[in-house]
């Protein structure tokens, strides 16, 4: 089956991100195709390049990136939700005159249209929220 994930919970604030990651790992472990993960609402915080959780906790940002690289899963972050929460890639940082950037590949800033496409392309879109 083709799965997609919509994640709307902030990492470390609610269980949503941990659950979404475990679900994503189970999907690929069972041999299903994970078409993409869309980060919206507070879920965009999962793309924070500078996240530095304690070493005895799962590093969610790194875990998403590893999943994306290993299984070729797009990590799409809603640009409007991200910008207002301080999550900017190099291009957006330059455009807004900000020093430094907080989002990097394999996360990509993209529009909400991608969420609708993902949802309609998959057999199942599973939402994780707080």
């Amino acid at each position: 089956m083709r799965y997609g994930i919509l994640l709307m919970g902030a990492p470390y604030s609610s269980q949503a991100s941990h659950s979404a990651l475990r679900f994503a790992e189970a999907v690929v472990a069972r041999g299903h195709r994970l078409e993409g993960i869309f980060f919206y609402h507070d879920g965009v915080q999962n793309a924070a390049r500078l996240a530095a959780p304690p070493q005895d906790e799962p590093h969610l940002v790194d875990a998403w990136a590893e999943l994306a690289r290993e299984y070729d899963v797009p990590l799409q972050v809603c640009i409007a939700a991200a910008l207002r929460r301080g999550l900017l890639d190099e291009r957006e940082a330059a455009r807004h005159g900000k020093q430094g950037h907080s989002v990097e590949a394999p996360f990509e800033l993209t529009g909400l249209g991608q969420l609708v496409d993902l949802g309609l392309r998959c057999d199942r879109l599973i939402t994780f929220g707080p």
Partner: protein
Amino acid sequence: MSNDSTQRLRGDLLVILRHAPHGTSWLREGLDAALVAAAFGRRVTLLFMGEGVTALLPGQAAGPLGQKGTAPTLEMLEMYDIETLLVEAEALGRFGLDADSLMLPTTAVSQGDIAALAASHPLVLTF
């Protein structure tokens, strides 16, 4: 609304709005998703459920906190061809509202019909 008429309410996307206008950004971000889908030519059905029905009270302007009011967005729905606006009948009752007091024309659906409504849309997003 009967089951038959609920099943006639088909579309590409059902957006369920379950949060009140102020306090969180859920309503605004849910409406954004609906508008973008409609702008890409998808047929969108909106369902205001639970606290979400209060979004339809007239006068949802910017509050003292400087949040954007949602009324202007709701007024744009028609321009985006989002014309199927549904409200949960039980929630209206719970908040002491009737459909005539809302800022836009809506159709009331009862809780029992919502499963059929979800089943008649290939994609459901809940905010």
